[in-house]
Symmetry: C2
Subunit: 595 residues, 2 copies
């Protein structure tokens, strides 16, 4: 026998009368006494195969014994279906294959769950049998989309003279940033490699090398406690360029995303993308990754309430904080008093000590705090909120961060509950002018908001020594529908400025030299101005595929405890393996006590 | 100022008279009193820039202070060079740029070595300053070639319906194969991930998932002692397909390599490639990765010498070994007696206990062993060797492996010394029908020659239980010019056969289940027949680039002791990091004694 002549999805009216050979999986089997129907599936689609005694008794007998997910190999003639049995839902629904031969290539036991989308199977079971879960149409589509998107990005970057260059996975552990995954060295006693959190330093060194335009779609690692949208290993589109300033780079990234959206999803996105400074994003949306598919912006109230009779407001302002509001249009009619009171618990997550609110009724504001506000103040608020009867107003009064975080989260919560989000929209935007540093109270020092190689904006370089907290970074985040798709910056390329940066971060000269001496030395041998960006590929695919779980975009993901339920990684290893690495495992505390 | 208008290599006669802005590195600077010439380099090439007082005194003054590898930004007019100063060796040699402006973007200290190919700098220094070494033209070309080749492979596979799917880097440690790099888990006390030696199991699971055609260009890891052509991390083109037999797959790989050779190197390679069975390759070339760019095949002599008077030959045959010869044409005149005797040391590396030889002279064979051979035996040998006056004949008599290894190595050594190799040739060939298993004397059990998922050829499946050593694998290696470019096989897809394979390998049922139970279980849910191949990308690039050192194809390689001389990885880590991983380092022995 020769090989397959067609894929299942290719068996269409054009080839009626032809003999075909197909291979694939039995999706369903229906036994109508003397005739057996099989829906045969492969990667391309599904086609109906019919076994009749008139065509082959032998084939019918074999077909009688097959079950769902058997792998079979059939030969037959493509015929037109009776008008009555045409299935308009199937691409191949006008035809069927009259099978003259069948061979069972492999059998299947009964499945632990059905191969269908939307089945109510626990994710743990799906992860244990990931190879079955990946057979679902939605999964197959997601990985086809991932392939296509990746290819589009590679093609775009290739056309724009980027070189794909690989960087090491076994690298050096550095104290900045997230926690490293370590890899013990067998040859170097007591020493370790680290898996890269990103190829940051290597891509900068490639710019020192004169490659000018580098890209890599690369695995990165962070040993952090996981959330729904985090994985211990993730993939980023990593880009670095020389001699291109921020404007050049952002324009190029916009062109790339426009192309990806058009060709992978058929969606027209317009460039240039909206830009918001970090301050504007926080003030208007309470987030540095705002979802702009709906309005409901935060309302600035500090000036209005600074002398009002409500202590919570005035003392927030006196302590250097702010008062902002959120108008949930028509919310007064949709939320009960109990539901509103329960929201105080929700904002408590973000550090808010309470949640003041007011309803807008025909005869004015109603609610616990109305009595503290003068008529004038209420009137000014009415205007600021653009209030209408039926609106529900919420207030945040605290340090900036608490107000932004709590009202920003409330804004998203209401948008979801009230279905304000147009899910067909893809709103790309840039957030720029991030603070370069933030003060870490625990560590009692400044830490880099992005990483220590981020360049300050030109006008602020002088402030690095005098007022580090005021320095803005020449950095940019790409945001899509409320998710941070990626971020980047122009980089420091002068040794002296890099030294100033490490000083601002509280590094001693020796620490800086030990950790990053080789990079600072490289800066002294003709390093070009350079900058780059990294985009989270898993997250991009999640958004393009319309999914909400990052694990659905990764073929073999880990659970929240960083386990693989399929292979049972991580696992114990032999004493011999540990000995070769000169390591011993410290016994668990309970075991110590028992010993 | 706006950005670059051109790359240096684009400044050609077509744009004479135009104003250009260029950015790049100062390759050389020549000061001719009132005029300064600079060769300006970027990724695209080099162009001459001239500073004259007539054009700009200010620019000339700045140019006076710049040195090699400074990064500069210039503006000027493209002009034709005087006939006398045209440089035919440069693509841009007919023009020069009269600079009106110059800005120094960054300075450079004196370099530790010159940026030029063929400089006599130690590799350690080059690796320490890798970012400078990568500026060399040969390095730049190698990484452009690597990018291009990778892109061609991706495009070919995309056109042939392969999906790029990523597999995990944090996987499960398995005892088969090479030594794993381990990654301690912070969350799971005393447990470890392993970095993948290849995505073997995952790619097979993707076939179980119905993806049918998978590829990935993926990093793999082996913690083995390194040789010149090994790195702890390496990149492979990883491919797996369902429903394609060996012939389909090899034809596709041939088409891909023909395309790569044509488009990356402009070289026509003819498909189908030559095929040799493992036995034929060993018998003719003493190697399973023969270099067929030259002849000098091994000559079978066992039948001729089996009753001869030379004990070394007859006892080798009596002990189940063989006697083979190698004819170095014209070698008798080129090698001295001492040189010939020294070769015994060379073959001793491969276990040979000596190296018999003969010279072919006008009046017959001359040499220490001639006296042991009858006239009839000498005559038969003469014919077998196709001997001519001046030939130098070598003999291997031992177990098959020793004879193959020693004569195979001698064959390559003579080919290099006598310059028999046509370096313009690219001889691709397939080696097939490998033994499935080999007996490991140390472990006292059979081990898989490829890996335990390799399928036996159909006719030999029954032998797996009765005569495992006779079973041939349905496997294939792709060989190029004496290097193994890659290899693959059809896979086992039935649980029962996989169990038989583990039994043949000496696994208990429990061991097999613990390590590979999830894979064997997957085989029970409709696993299609499948097979694949993996090609070593680093080695392919090395051969295409005409290099002999694998490190020249990797941007940031490790040394033979798996160190990175640039970043100093691996390195010590903090006690806090170790404590989080519940690990302690076992002190070195010397330290223990001192303590």
């Amino acid at each position: 026998m020769i090989g397959r002549t067609h894929n299942c999805g290719e068996v269409l009216e054009q080839i009626i009368g032809e003999k075909v050979r197909l291979k694939g999986w039995v999706q369903t089997r229906r036994d109508l006494g003397q005739v057996i129907f099989i829906d045969l599936r492969d990667r391309s689609g599904i086609v109906q195969v019919v076994f009749q005694p008139e065509v082959s008794v032998e084939a019918l007998q074999i077909a009688d014994k097959i079950r769902s997910e058997y792998v079979i190999d059939i030969e037959g003639i493509v015929t037109v279906r009776d008008e009555a049995t045409v299935n308009p839902k199937m691409a191949t629904g006008k035809v069927e294959v009259l099978a003259s031969k069948i061979e069972v290539l492999n059998k299947s036991k009964s499945l632990p769950f059905q191969i269908e989308d939307g089945a109510n199977t626990s994710e743990d079971i799906r992860l244990k049998y990931r190879y079955l879960d990946l057979r679902r149409p939605q999964m197959q589509e997601t990985f086809k989309l991932r392939h296509k998107t990746t290819k589009l990005i590679r093609d775009y970057l290739d056309e724009n003279a980027f070189l794909e260059i690989e960087t090491p996975m076994l690298t050096k552990s550095t104290p900045e940033g997230a926690r490293d995954y370590l890899v013990p060295s067998r040859v170097h006693h007591g020493e370790f490699y680290a898996l890269p959190q990103s190829p940051q330093i290597f891509k900068q060194l490639l710019m020192v090398s004169g490659f000018e335009r580098y890209y890599q779609i690369v695995r990165c690692f962070r040993d952090e406690d996981l959330r729904a949208d985090r994985q211990p290993e993730f993939t980023q589109v990593d880009i670095e360029t020389s001699f291109m300033d921020k404007e050049d780079l952002l324009a190029m990234m916009e062109e790339m995303m426009v192309k990806v959206m058009k060709e992978a999803k058929g969606i027209d996105v317009t460039a240039p993308f909206q830009r918001l400074s970090y301050n504007e994003a926080m003030n208007r949306y309470g987030s540095d990754k705002p979802d702009t598919r709906f309005e409901m912006e935060l309302v600035e109230l500090s000036a209005i309430v600074k002398d009002c009779g409500f202590k919570v407001f005035t003392s927030a302002i006196e302590n250097g904080g702010i008062v902002k509001g959120l108008n949930v249009k028509g919310g007064a009619l949709k939320y009960s008093r109990k539901e509103i009171d329960d929201l105080a618990k929700f904002v408590a997550i973000y550090g808010a000590k309470g949640l003041a609110w007011l309803k807008v009724e025909e005869d004015g504001f109603k609610g616990p705090i109305a009595k503290f506000l003068t008529e004038e103040e209420q009137s000014q608020m009415h205007t600021a909120f653009n209030a209408e009867v039926g609106d529900l107003l919420f207030f945040g009064a605290d340090k900036k961060k608490v107000v932004f975080d709590s009202l920003g989260a409330l804004r998203l919560k209401f948008a979801k509950e009230l279905e304000l989000i147009d899910k067909t929209k893809f709103n790309f935007l840039w957030v720029t002018e991030f603070p370069l540093l933030s003060y870490d109270e625990d560590a009692d020092r400044y830490v880099a908001e992005h990483h220590p190689f981020t360049r300050p904006v030109k006008e602020d370089i002088e402030l690095l020594k005098t007022a580090p907290e005021k320095v803005r970074a020449d950095a940019y985040d790409l945001v899509l529908n409320g998710y941070e798709l990626g971020g980047g910056s122009q980089r420091i390329y002068e040794r002296s400025l890099q030294e100033d940066m490490f000083t601002a971060l509280g590094f001693s000269d020796e620490e800086a030299r030990n950790q990053f001496g080789f990079l600072m030395e490289a800066f002294e041998y003709g390093t070009p101005p350079h900058g780059g960006i990294a985009l989270g590929l898993d997250r991009l695919i999640m958004l393009l595929a319309g999914r909400t779980n990052l694990r659905d975009t990764i073929a073999f993901p880990k659970t929240a405890s960083a386990s693989c339920l399929l292979t049972n990684a991580p696992s114990g290893v032999s004493d011999a393996q540990l000995k070769e690495l000169n390591l011993s495992v410290i016994p668990k505390k309970e075991e110590k006590v028992q010993a």
